[in-house]
């Protein structure tokens, strides 16, 4: 399987502070990959560096094309959808507007309507709340809205930053079930950043472990899951 995203020697900086050192990994086309690590290991920064939301150096190749240094909005238009940490919605816009904004450059109205219906098929709860202000949704619904909006971009790669953050366990299970479905049915490759390592390793086929801005371990999820260090540090047993 050819790599959809190739990251090599990625460095990132916040002002003078370097927070990534030579991060390297590949994301296979159609697969789910997870980045694990403790707080401050550089997981979020890695996602932000891919989208050029933080100053970065190195190589990031998407579909064979180097994208380092391109403006965020142009990278997104290559169909890389980034679902940021926290509740990534426009709180004062309605649910429908939040979704439509992702398709605002498209001229075919019917196409956008079909797209909305397709997205609602994954998240029927959002359809019931279509005219509600996003800020009034529950945490789980806001996270669903953020993922649904990413889906409106017809992404080839979805970057997900802590989708389980601050949500009830049942809601998390529901969201992860939908992510798996999206991966299978839409052929969307996923790069998942998670604190909840057990959950992430169940979903992903490949895992990379970050520590203070470097990849310290990688391999198929089943191997990483059974690694003693990983088990002690991140799985807690």
């Amino acid at each position: 399987m050819a790599a959809l995203l190739e990251v090599k020697g990625l460095k990132a900086f916040y002002g003078q502070t370097q927070s990534l050192y030579d991060v390297a990994f590949d994301i296979p086309n159609g697969g789910i990959t997870t980045l694990l690590g403790a707080n401050g290991a550089g997981k979020t920064t890695t996602l932000r560096a891919i989208c050029n939301m933080v100053r970065s150096e190195g190589t990031v190749r998407f579909d064979g094309k180097d994208i380092v240094g391109q403006p965020t909005e142009e990278i997104v238009r290559l169909r890389i959808a980034h679902v940021p940490e926290g509740r990534g919605t426009f709180t004062t816009l309605t649910v429908e507007e939040n979704l439509r904004i992702a398709a605002y450059t498209r001229k075919d109205k019917q196409g956008v309507r079909d797209e909305l219906e397709r997205v609602f098929s994954y998240f029927p709860r959002l359809k019931e709340r279509v005219q509600q202000q996003a800020g009034t949704l529950s945490g789980g619904e806001q996270q669903m809205l953020a993922i649904a909006r990413a889906l409106m971009l017809k992404p080839r790669l979805m970057l997900l930053d802590e989708p389980s953050f601050g949500l009830a366990p049942l809601v998390v299970v529901e969201i992860f079930r939908i992510l798996k479905l999206i991966n299978q049915e839409e052929q969307v490759s996923i790069l998942l950043v998670e604190q909840n390592a057990a959950l992430a390793l169940d979903l992903a086929s490949h895992a990379y472990v970050l520590e203070t801005g470097k990849v310290v371990m990688s391999g198929p999820s089943s191997v990483v899951k059974n690694d003693e260090n990983v088990r002690k540090s991140y799985l807690g047993y």
Binding site: V76, P84, R87, L93, R100, A102, Y104
Partner: protein, 301 residues
Amino acid sequence: MEQFLQQLASGLANGAIYACVALALVMIYVSTDHLNFAQGEMAMFSTYLSWQLMSWGASFWVAFFVAVVLSFVLGVIIERAILRPLHNAPVLSVVVVFIGLLAICNSMAGAIWSYLIKEFPSPFPKASFGIAGVIGPHQLGVVLVTLIVLGFLFVFFRYTPLGLAMRAAAQNPQMARLVGVRVDWMLALGWGLAAAVGAVAGIMVAHIVYLDPNMMGGILLYAFASALVGGIGNPGGAVIGGFIVGVLENMVAYAGNQIEKATGVYIVGNGEKLTVALIIVIFVLTVKPAGLFGRVAVKRV
């Protein structure tokens, strides 16, 4: 009674002008958190452009539309050329640039067209129009034109994908980038629209206050007051605030006249209406600091 209605009508006409300028201020404020002090002078410059076109023989409405479009383009250029490099600059630097812009517009208009006060025509028919004795044709026309412009903007922001993208970029620029919105262009577009709305206000008010490089000074002050009364982050509030301030100042003068007539004691008149109106504005803001329609954002913790 008739005098009351007259004052009310003229208050609404003034209010329409304040509403436009206040809306222009708010449009830039919500997307950049800056108050454009040069908004009034930019509108004045646009008004001179339309005057120039008319003096070259264009009809009023041709001059109006060409000046509004030119203002839009100039607004976009000012944002791209002057404010773009200041995106990460401290607030005070931007304030200084706005004040510089104000001075430049003012002295450029003076240099090109001189500081002599010029008459400015009204496009509305003299008699056959308006309700005799209560509202003059020009006042009625100003209110109508303003309402059309406001309606157009409402539809644009509420129902078009581009308007939606502009609102999203204003609310959360970084997130807007993550859905592929070219935020920098949205800002420039916002400046263009603000300049165009300001131009409408300038061209409409010039017949009333006459054309000179300082014509917008007082109006900008009223517009600030309107925007604050309505809630500085709320476009609809700014528009309503504009009408409130416009009517209020005329009511103050009217009440003063009535008191003088009845008791012979002079308290307030035309000369003091700005002062009294601003006192009322300050009072409103001490009671409701976010403005009458200031948005209290719905937020879950």
